[in-house]
Symmetry: C2
């Protein structure tokens, strides 16, 4: 029977694909490619293209980059209809997602909208925060510490409460929230680094968070931080 | 110049190794293998053995599985001395760690103790919580939710405070803390699953956390949970 695969393709570097992802990509009939900006460009596709079955059909999906649940769920519903169509034709189909399938991925909205009789296999991927920590040879958490992943879109007090109880944290979507992020690092005396475009062309690391956030508002920016020693 | 590599080998299934990990494993001169129980068995080694340079020297390291920082730091110091010795001989050496290098890995204690002139490259791996979520085709976090990783060794009130503010969480080291974990799931009405030995032989999934935790205290157990809908 045909199968639906969700594949986490890691943050940007093709060499961070798993063996399992490569094996599946080489055999699938159809590839579903998320296209957030609706411009036909896809970093996820660039990561996998050298490993893809050359005869695979490419289907671009417009997945709006918004937080409105109704809008995203509608996109998931539409994507699930495309998946079902190909499965009914007996074709194996894979959706690719940056990083990991379970961490802030639109993949879950497709799964939620799929009929339960469709067989699904999810292949986890390397998360951006693990790749960022690896790039600077640092731990995210040790011993019995709590580790948290926090979108900087949250209000300051919530962020502070959670970071305060954590040994290490990763702050996501920081590019438009430099005031909150800088204040958090100062107030809690965090040992922080900002990594931009991890695993992609133009990858960079800086420890001057304020300067880096104000100089260049880059979507693929992540701050990883630990409590000061 | 010779180089020290830290490689995250994922939770258990060799097919979750990255292409980069496989490439490095095939060329290194020495492999450092953590051996927590000092019994010569290593799950991390089982994961990589089919991809290893057949001429690589194997060095088993006893890394005690304790939380005492002084004890672990001493083990890191001893391991760093072994790394330095091989680097001085011009040999490439890799340390392997289950899951990812930055998440609760003893790897960071080796890095901390290494002379700064030794070149280090860290290869991130698939985390157990991402593999667990993938196994049941579920998200860990969506939208602007906070995601937390919490060792169940923490006190109940701290765990509750953090989980309460999170959209999703992964509870680690749950096997000896069933009372706290079950209470947390009930009080916060979490939608939870327990995954044992993810990616390993005997992998299992259950949604009856209390029964599963009391029936079989398995070290490789992880609970992933989301706020009820």
């Amino acid at each position: 029977m045909a199968k639906f695969y969700g594949i986490g393709v890691g943050p940007g570097d093709s060499s961070l694909l798993t063996l399992k992802a490569v094996e599946i990509l080489s055999t699938i009939d159809v590839l579903l490619i998320p296209d957030g900006k609706n411009d036909g460009k896809s970093l996820a596709f660039d990561i996998v293209k050298d490993y893809l079955n050359p005869n695979a059909v490419l289907e671009y999906l417009h997945f709006p980059m918004v937080l409105d649940k109704e809008v995203i769920n509608k996109a998931g519903y539409d994507a699930a209809a495309i998946v079902s169509k190909y499965i009914d034709e007996g074709k194996d189909i894979a959706f690719i997602t940056l990083g990991d399938t379970s961490i802030y991925s639109t993949y879950s909205y497709i799964v939620d909208n799929l009929s339960r009789d469709i067989e699904i296999e999810t292949i986890p991927g390397i998360t951006s925060f693990c790749a960022a920590a690896a790039l600077i040879n640092r731990p995210l958490c040790q011993g019995d510490e709590i580790f948290t992943v926090i979108p900087a879109t949250k209000d300051y007090e919530s962020m502070k409460e959670v970071v305060d109880i954590s040994g290490g944290c990763a702050l996501m979507k920081v590019y438009n929230h430099s005031d909150k992020v800088v204040r958090l690092i100062e107030e809690l005396k965090l040992d922080a680094a900002i990594i931009k475009r991890v695993g992609q062309a133009g990858e960079s690391v800086s420890y001057d968070i304020e300067d880096e956030l104000n100089r260049d508002k880059q979507y693929f920016s992540i701050v990883i931080a630990r409590k000061g020693k």
